[in-house]
């Protein structure tokens, strides 16, 4: 049985692609509420596949993923949309909507969640203040630097007050200064009570966080340390 205090469970999850390549094999671990967990491993280890399975973008070949005791892959289309609104996402390549301003990019997430115009007008400037981007509110993504784009992405992930933030290699395209900023923002978000799942292969970040580290290699969990370093 799943313990009640557990938020997310990967229960013997395997993913085999049609070309027979094994992306994940028998992955089992759980995440508690308000935890900051780093998933590390070399490129191609299966980190991104793990997140795609969690978001319902792909289905596991075997095994089950639970979110608050509910099997994510048993949700219908409408329920999966509702579930995704409870999760904030930050990607390595930012994935902002290029034809929308900073304000509209963030507002879109709120509109998708059915929030009112008044809520949007008051929350968007507030969340931009949190990531220190108020002066860029009416700029388009092409007018921003990499670090600024990633902060917009974080603001977008945050604005619906999600229970979990997933950051997939968020610092992969950033210089050390912006990397530091992004990690600090993620730590701040976690301190405010949001669960953070971070995938990275940046050793410096992991060592500085000094939090839980799950290491994946060739699709298998090879290490799960409560206060780990990149290498043991």
């Amino acid at each position: 049985m799943i313990e009640l205090k557990v938020m997310i469970v990967f229960d013997r999850v395997s993913k085999v692609y049609p070309d027979s390549s094994v992306a994940l094999e028998e992955v089992t671990f759980s995440i508690e509420p308000k935890e900051f967990i780093s998933i590390v491993g070399p490129s191609g280890a299966g980190k991104t596949t793990l997140l795609k399975l969690f978001l319902g973008e792909e289905k596991p070949t075997r095994g089950v993923i639970y979110y608050e005791s509910v099997n994510v892959h048993a949700l219908d289309k409408k329920e999966i949309n509702e579930f995704r609104r409870r999760v904030g996402m930050v990607f390595q390549d930012f994935r902002l909507l290029p034809n929308k301003t900073v304000y509209e990019n963030i507002a879109f997430t709120m509109e998708a969640a059915g929030r009112t115009d008044e809520e949007i007008e008051s929350d968007v400037p507030h969340v931009l203040e949190l990531v220190d981007l108020t002066p860029k509110i009416w700029n388009f993504p092409r007018e921003l630097s990499g670090g600024e784009k990633q902060r917009v992405a974080i603001a977008r992930a945050l604005v619906n007050e999600p229970e979990v933030i997933i950051a997939d290699e968020p610092t992969g395209n950033l210089d050390p200064v912006n990397t530091y900023d992004v990690v600090q923002i993620l730590k701040k978000i976690n301190n405010l009570g949001t669960t953070v799942i971070l995938t990275t292969h940046n050793k410096g970040i992991i060592d500085s966080l000094n939090g839980r580290v799950v290491a994946i290699e060739q699709g298998r969990v090879v290490r799960d340390d409560k206060a780990g370093k990149y290498f043991k």
Partner: protein, 308 residues
């Protein structure tokens, strides 16, 4: 909630149309080509109809009666012909009228006129000019006359000749051409319509292909299918409306020019005055086609990227 969502979808559609200026311009131009084809199809339909009607009206048969035939007997034949369903019009030309017309036709040829004078009497028989409802029905009209329906009260045939048998080959050929032109016109219309709709569909599909990453991001932030699809459909509709109005505008000088240059060729049909007379009807067809093609293309093209 519904109205709020609808308002946001329409607003986003307008923003996307405006901000993606180059893509929008290209799509509108391609859509204009499609709608121009739709417009020309409705013109060519009218041109074909009117030209064929004119051709049909030009076909007739003349029954020439012997000079000794009594007018009363001829009028009886006329009456019998008029009661046939195949016949639309029968005109009677008396012997005197035939002679006057003949003299008029040959007024410059003195030798013919003097020959007529020498004869001393009218050598021409009375004529019934018959127009059938359809060119293919002349055969049965001619058979009717041959089959003993044109006899005098004494039972002697009063028909001198029926020019159907002289013109049969020409009438048959014309009937065949008219039928083929009808069929060809229809097939060509369908063919052109399909090609142009496919071109418009593919253009819109490309614009959505460009946006496929955005669509997946929208999916991942939990946007519903309607909320993602909606603005794309709105953009498709705007393409249709804009292209529709531009096409209508462009057709004005085009038909004006075509109208004066082709009027003699199309036997009295002026494409420009036809366009002005049927403007509302044509505008409705063109704009509605644009809206329909734009919306349906967007709906179909986006489905592929919504599977995430």
């Amino acid at each position: 909630m519904f109205w709020m969502k609808l308002k946001r979808i329409i607003r986003t559609g307008f923003f996307n149309f405006w901000r993606d200026g180059t893509v929008s311009l290209a799509s509108v131009l391609v859509m204009m080509v499609t709608l121009m084809v739709v417009g020309l199809i409705s013109f060519s339909g009218a041109i074909l109809d009117i030209t064929l009607l004119e051709l049909r009206n030009k076909i007739d048969i003349n029954v020439t009666f012997v000079t000794s035939a009594k007018e009363e007997d001829i009028l009886n034949v006329r009456h019998a012909l008029e009661s046939l369903t195949e016949v639309s019009l029968v005109t009677y030309v008396s012997r005197d009228e035939a002679l006057t017309a003949f003299k008029e036709r040959h007024s410059s040829d003195q030798s013919i006129l003097s020959a007529l004078d020498e004869l001393g009497e009218n050598p021409l028989g009375a004529v019934l000019n018959i127009k059938a409802r359809d060119p293919s029905q002349y055969a049965s009209v001619a058979e009717f006359l041959e089959g003993g329906n044109a006899l005098s009260s004494d039972g002697i045939t009063i028909v001198d000749r029926i020019n159907y048998f002289e013109n049969k080959a020409a009438i048959d050929k014309l009937t065949h051409i008219i039928a083929s032109a009808d069929r060809m016109g229809f097939a060509l219309t369908i063919f052109l319509a399909i090609i142009s709709v496919l071109i418009a569909f593919n253009t819109i599909r490309l614009t959505i292909y460009i946006a496929r990453d955005e669509i997946s991001v929208m999916r991942l932030v939990g946007a519903s299918t309607t909320y993602i699809q909606g603005p794309f459909v709105v953009v498709g509709i705007i393409y249709g409306i804009t292209a529709g109005f531009l096409t209508l505008l462009l057709l004005l000088p085009l038909t004006y020019w075509l109208g004066s240059t082709t009027e003699s060729f199309f036997i009295g049909f002026n494409i420009f005055s036809y366009y002005l007379r049927h403007f509302l009807e044509i505008a409705l067809i063109i704009v509605a086609s644009g809206v329909f093609i734009g919306a349906i293309s967007s709906l179909l093209a986006i489905r592929k990227y919504l599977k995430v």
